[in-house]
């Protein structure tokens, strides 16, 4: 189909409304409202237009755990969430530690055709933390892997982490570390705190995250390599990263929507929908992460979308799997959290900083992942990956109605301040009027 498309009266980055004309896979023109024409019109009156969202941290579960999610169901969930690109983590079965597996995932993503699926390559063979995987082969493959991570597990051995950081410089790769010292967190179930002491659940101390980050930023500085820190969850981690950046160290960092909103108090219900790794932390940690997102210490918001089948959550806490869904609710939560006090809405509430969100959820993740076609500015000549958000409708979250194959969302019953109306993926509509095109 090569009809031209007009996105009518949308507000790029929340600013003044314009008409956007898309031809082929690019933005052809940006015009005054009411002056442009095209073969097909998508009404975006009152909506915010953002560059298509880019998730640097998603679990699509395929190959190996298709009962939880597949590349297709995950792509649907991503598109409905406003994403046009997701990085699929390597902890599949088989692990994505060879060119063969990453190319399989990449091709499947193309077949589904709803988002760019960028496979993440494992750092170590089988995620076992002992031997470096074929990082070069994965980088040279058709999947062109640039992000490498053992996420789910920590690259614990300092020598191995050093070697991996050095090795990926050859192809402008980045190591994304899941910072969790395994010896300090054996059998851990929740944040280590007064609450864990009272509830009798083994604690996951903040120092187990902070000590690994501290080590890794020093290694990255020493080797001159890029380091990315996954799902930062504590105030102490924020301070380490802030210090590292002030020293010019090459580190980027992400925070998840749930770590920007939810606290460990929810664990006292013993409902495993709140069980996640890293765990929900204290209010002070949530506040520190929010401030870090606003001041740039945290570079991106990434979902860590982690689907699990019902039987892995419908049980006692200790037996439950760790992880929460995130793709379809991320933008709604970001809209509540990424705000600027000096812009207030009519009702006195601080209003969403859409420029910052575009940076946090599209531009910066595309840059870190070296995805040239994503996170481009909304201007003529850019590839047309666009997310169109309607702030006037409210969306109440329900586990069954999400497109993900699993239902483990901690936000069941929450009302989000808006919904995705349309999404354009490489110039073609993937989502129209809130539903898959």
């Amino acid at each position: 189909m090569s009809d031209s498309i007009l996105v009518r009266a949308g507000r790029p980055y929340g600013q003044e409304p314009v008409d956007i004309v898309i031809d082929g896979d690019r933005i052809a023109a940006i015009a005054e409202v009411g002056t442009a024409t095209a073969d097909r019109v998508l009404d975006a009156q009152g909506c915010v237009v953002l560059p298509g969202l880019v998730d640097l941290h998603t679990h699509l579960r395929e190959p190996g755990r298709e009962h939880a999610e597949t590349i297709e169901s995950g792509s649907r969930a991503a598109a409905l969430g406003g994403f046009t690109c997701v990085h699929a983590m390597a902890n599949t079965s088989p692990v994505a530690d060879t060119a063969g597996v990453v190319e399989q995932v990449w091709r499947r993503g193309i077949e589904c055709g709803l988002v760019d699926v960028r496979p993440v390559g494992a750092v170590t063979v089988g995620l076992e933390g002992r031997q470096m995987a074929e990082l070069g082969a994965m980088a040279s493959s058709a999947a062109a892997v640039r992000v490498f991570s053992d996420d789910g597990l920590c690259v614990h051995d300092p020598l191995l982490m050093r070697r991996a950081l050095e090795y990926v410089k050859a192809f402008d790769g980045v190591i994304a570390q899941h910072a969790q010292d395994p010896r300090l967190t054996e059998g851990a179930q929740m944040n280590e705190s007064e609450l864990s002491g009272r509830l009798g659940l083994a604690g996951w101390p903040a120092v187990a995250e902070e000590s690994i980050i501290a080590r890794d930023v020093l290694l990255a500085a020493h080797t001159g390599s890029r380091l990315h820190v996954c799902h930062v969850s504590t105030a102490g981690s924020v301070e380490v990263i802030r210090w590292a950046k002030s020293r010019g160290m090459p580190v980027t960092a992400e925070a998840t929507p749930h770590h920007l909103l939810l606290t460990e108090e929810l664990v006292s219900t013993f409902d495993p929908v709140y069980k996640v790794n890293p765990p929900l932390r204290r209010r002070a940690d949530v506040e520190a992460l929010r401030a870090a997102v606003l001041d740039g210490t945290i570079d991106i918001i990434a979902t860590d979308h982690a689907p699990h089948p019902r039987e892995d959550k419908d049980c006692e806490w200790a037996a439950a799997a760790m992880g929460m869904l995130g793709l379809e609710t991320a933008l709604g939560i970001a809209a509540q959290v990424v705000t600027r006090d000096e812009h207030t809405r009519g009702d006195g509430e601080p209003s969403t900083d859409w420029q910052a969100i575009a940076q946090l959820m599209s531009v910066a993740p595309a840059r870190i992942g070296r995805v040239a076609d994503q996170g481009q500015p909304i201007e003529p000549g850019s590839i047309a990956n666009l997310a169109i958000w309607d702030p006037s409708v409210e969306m109440t979250v329900s586990g069954e109605r999400l497109a993900s194959r699993s239902g483990n969302t901690p936000y069941a019953g929450f009302t989000l301040p808006g919904a995705v109306r349309h999404v354009l993926f490489r110039g073609r509509p993937s989502v129209v009027d809130g539903g898959l095109a």
Binding site: E192, S193, G197, R198, L201, E316
Partner: protein, 321 residues
């Protein structure tokens, strides 16, 4: 009264706790005779669902239910979801289909009774017989009952009583329930342990904390010794049993430091020679056997108070006839 379930000692108000203890006291009187059976829960079905081995606690609950004429089913659920046995949910649905009025659950995972009570799988009452390292409310109740009999002539609360709890507080559900319940009843509690066996944040608990048992013992009305497990040495919590016993074990020398009327409690089973010496365990100041007897009466009281009244649907207005 105390609600539909008994999941945690922290949920009990002072009035609730005293009511349970008073009821246990009456039941103790009433069953102190040759016919120990009461017809009160006849026709009700009580299930013991024990995922962890514990013959003593299970028998205590079984006896309590049978003395009230309830039917008892013992479900020895060896598998947990982790060991690929039938899942907690499926087990619960099976019990519900059998018409269990109450499920008494002991499980290795903290919070399992909450899932059972709140997931909507069963209609009956849930009694927590010990969940992971979280709580063991009926143990705390029988300990409070024992303390009340000795220190307060069997009535009222425990205001002003001084109790020390010594041992692996970190991994002890008995300690957590006892600290909460004793405090609710007005007692003054001190926990004593090496720093490695104290939970993170114990300084926020409603009790004092001490590392030195010899400093604490002269100032208590009762000491509760907790079992220390050999597996803890593998986690480097303390070097070996000998050092633990030397620094924290209750032997005759230490018992002599306590005030003359002070008593010794232990939830059992005891590691004679580790946390408690054989002489102390067999001395008249150790009330361990009484705790076991009291356990049955307290559990009868809990069963009566949870199941002895009507479900909303059956209740009628108006005065008694």
């Amino acid at each position: 009264m105390i609600g539909r379930h008994l999941l945690s000692a922290q949920d009990l108000t002072s009035a609730d706790a005293v009511r349970i203890l008073d009821t246990a006291g009456e039941l103790a009187t009433v069953t102190d005779r040759s016919v120990k059976k009461l017809p009160t829960l006849r026709g009700r079905t009580v299930v013991t669902l024990f995922f962890e081995d514990s013959t003593r606690t299970r028998i205590s609950f079984e006896l309590a239910a049978k003395r009230l004429s309830a039917d008892v089913i013992n479900f020895a659920a060896k598998g947990s979801s982790l060991s690929k046995g039938e899942s907690l949910k499926d087990t619960a649905l099976t019990l519900e289909a059998m018409g269990a009025d109450a499920v008494i659950i002991r499980h290795g995972a903290s919070g399992a009774p909450y899932r059972l009570a709140n997931a909507g799988w069963i209609q009956g009452s849930v009694i927590n017989a010990g969940d992971g390292t979280h709580e063991h409310p009926t143990q705390a109740l029988l300990d409070a009952f024992t303390l009340r009999n000795h220190l307060r002539a069997g009535s009222g609360d425990l205001a002003g009583a001084r109790v020390a709890i010594v041992g692996d507080i970190l991994h002890s559900r008995v300690a957590r329930s006892n600290v909460a319940l004793l405090r609710t009843l007005g007692a003054q509690v001190t926990v004593v342990a090496p720093p490695t066996l104290l939970p993170y944040g114990v300084d926020t608990w409603p009790c004092d904390v001490g590392y030195d048992i010899d400093d604490v013992l002269p100032h208590v009305d009762a000491v509760m010794m907790l079992r220390v497990q050999a597996e803890r040495m593998a986690g480097s919590y303390f070097p070996n049993e000998l050092e633990y016993s030397r620094r924290y074990g209750l032997d005759s020398r230490r018992m002599a430091l306590m005030p003359a009327e002070a008593i010794v409690l232990h939830p059992g089973p005891m590691n004679r020679g580790v946390e408690i010496s054989a002489e102390v365990a067999d001395s008249p100041r150790a009330v361990v056997v009484e705790q076991v007897t009291n356990g049955v009466h307290v559990r009868m009281a809990v069963l009566y108070l949870l199941l002895g009244g009507g479900p909303e649907e059956l209740m009628v207005e108006g005065a008694d006839r």
